[in-house]
């Protein structure tokens, strides 16, 4: 005597939502995992501000736009935190595969998009929260921002970048199925940050360093955010920042979906 359950249809939106909720919960419930991504960027900011604050005085143009070196560092600090934190999505994906939770998902009628959305939404939420956190801390220490609009752009870019970097992390997680392998790729984030104009004005760079920084999309986002945060609202700069971040996010999603499909074809 089977008790008839009303025929049910799996719903992609509900699935995505419940998996996103799980991703956020897993961050909230293991704060020790995200603490380093909050602490280290502040450490770098303090170090750089102490080291370079007086150099800015020697550059009148620079000092005019950035009265404190912290003003210059604010977007870099935020993005650094976001980039550090968003590798977590890849690690979690690899953990799910290692642990077998991924199999549990695949054996249910879950849409493959929901798996990815769920994974990346946690990162997006974390990215936004980090942006607010860093902005508040740096402002408390004397950085200045021109208004709420630029800060909103900062938050949006953070979320998008978290999706982007998280997406590439997920690709690694899917390809390797090993959380350690994902974490092993972590230094790439450093390379990405340090070859951009995150910690040093591009006008003062020379040779190949300047060239690399010029083509590093992180530089484009950072410089647009700097203009917005120190000079005030500019639609052009806002579009550059958001579009670049969105481009990275879109690319990551496409690659991650392909990796997911590929794994499903090979394994399933």
């Amino acid at each position: 005597m089977t008790v008839a359950l009303a025929p049910h249809r799996p719903n992609v939106a509900r699935q995505s939502l419940v998996l996103s909720r799980r991703a956020v919960l897993s961050i909230v419930r293991q704060p020790q995992v995200v603490l380093p991504s909050l602490f280290f960027p502040l450490f770098f900011a303090a170090l750089n501000a102490a080291a370079f604050d007086r150099i800015t005085a020697a550059q009148p143009d620079f000092a005019a736009q950035y009265p404190s070196f912290l003003d210059f560092l604010l977007p870099a600090t935020v993005l650094q935190g976001v980039l550090f934190g968003s590798t977590q999505a890849g690690t979690e994906m690899a953990n799910d595969i290692e642990m077998g939770f991924f199999d549990r998902l695949l054996a249910s009628p879950v849409s493959r998009t929901s798996i990815l959305v769920g994974r990346l939404a946690g990162g997006a939420a974390l990215g936004a929260a980090q942006a607010v956190f860093f902005a508040v801390v740096l402002v408390l220490f004397g950085a200045q921002v021109t208004g709420i609009g630029p800060v909103l752009v900062l938050v949006v870019c953070s979320s998008l970048l978290a999706v982007g970097i998280g997406g590439f992390g997920v690709v690694l997680g899917i390809r390797t199925g090993s959380a350690e392998a994902v974490q092993g790729a972590f230094p790439l984030i450093f390379v990405l940050m340090f070859t951009s104009s995150a910690f040093f004005p591009r006008e003062l760079m020379t040779g190949w360093y300047g060239t690399v920084a010029t083509y590093n999309p992180i530089s484009w986002i950072l410089e647009a955010l700097r203009e917005l945060l120190t000079l005030g609202w500019s639609t052009t700069e806002a579009v550059v920042a958001v579009a670049t971040s969105a481009g990275i996010a879109a690319l990551a999603i496409v690659v991650a979906l392909r990796a997911l499909r590929r794994r499903l074809v090979l394994a399933a």
Partner: protein
């Protein structure tokens, strides 16, 4: 009755390794079917193919009327799956996981919460429902795993080694639950196990799998009857050769553990006194002797030339069958 699980020539290779080598199955709705075999025999790989997690490299299979490759989505809606390593997120609570599983199956929120409560109560986890799974014991995890696989009231339930590593109490509780499901709800159950007793107790029909092939299939009772004669196990002091010679006159040799000698006692228990007399006349000193009615282990031994008992004490737990990269 039309079979609810059908496999024809199901095969899975990993490189050169043939993990599953042409498995044919036909399981009727309402059966409890046991897949018995040692570690690495291909049980889990077969289950992974039947549950759409792994693509067969040859052959095909239908579950609940749907092809496991071409209609994987339909299969996933019809089946409940509890896999070997009880993959449960340790950071979530029991009730959160039940809710998640229900949503994945598209069950409306209200129904999901009600069913979740009922299920957790059924498996005795009401008190632990709001605790994180990381704090659960092994038995509790398996019970939660079972509850999760039942959220959408599946027609077919796959249990991959549901009691490996469990204590006897938890094992019995799980058996009871499987029997209940099968009896009251008519759920078809395919379970894999390396425990003879489990297959004997639970399954109406079993298949013995070894090196990726099904070597025997049928009802446990019929299979045991097929073996026929009981097994006589003899341990002797001193030279076993003389004893072996005597025993050979009473029946064919059977695989045995340790240094014991074993034969199928052709004439049955009536022959026992004759055996003892003959051994005595040959000057054999008997240290231990036992006569056992045929067990599934004998069935296994006859089919494979090896014994499963002892080899499958769970000591090799965690030995994973070749997994795809």
């Amino acid at each position: 009755m039309t079979p609810i699980i059908v496999a024809e020539g199901l095969e899975r290779r990993f490189g050169d390794l043939v993990a599953v080598d042409g498995v044919d199955l036909s399981i009727d709705a309402g059966e409890v079917f046991g897949f018995l075999g040692p570690n690495g025999a291909g049980k889990s790989t077969t289950v992974r193919m039947l549950t759409t997690l792994l693509k067969p490299t040859a052959g095909h299979a239908r579950v609940a009327g749907y092809d496991v490759v071409r209609q994987a989505g339909e299969v996933r809606r019809a089946i409940g799956v509890a896999l070997q390593d009880a993959a449960i997120d340790p950071l979530m609570t029991g009730s959160e996981l039940v809710h998640l599983q229900a949503v994945l199956h598209g069950i409306p929120a209200k129904v999901a919460d009600q069913r979740g409560k009922e299920l957790l109560e059924r498996v005795g986890l009401t008190a632990a429902a709001d605790r994180r799974v990381g704090t659960y014991s092994g038995g509790m995890r398996r019970r939660l795993d079972l509850a999760l696989s039942l959220v959408h009231e599946p027609e077919v339930l796959f249990l991959d080694e549901p009691t490996t590593g469990l204590d006897p109490m938890s094992r019995m509780a799980l058996w009871e639950e499987v029997r209940f499901l099968n009896r009251e709800r008519g759920t078809t159950v395919l379970l894999t196990t390396q425990y003879l007793e489990e297959a004997d107790q639970l399954a109406g029909r079993i298949a013995i799998i070894d090196h990726g092939r099904i070597v025997k299939k049928g009802e446990p009772r019929a299979l045991k009857a097929e073996v026929g004669s009981p097994t006589l196990m003899v341990e002797v002091d001193g030279d076993p050769l003389a004893a072996a010679e005597v025993l050979a006159t009473f029946g064919d040799e059977r695989p045995s553990e340790h240094r014991a000698l074993a034969i199928g006692l052709t004439g049955g228990a009536q022959q026992l006194t004759a055996v003892v007399r003959a051994l005595d006349e040959a000057g054999v000193v008997v240290r231990h002797m036992e006569l056992n009615a045929p067990t599934l282990d004998d069935v296994f031994a006859e089919a494979t030339g090896r014994r499963l008992e002892g080899a499958a004490d769970g000591s090799e737990q965690g030995a994973v069958e070749a997994a795809p990269a």
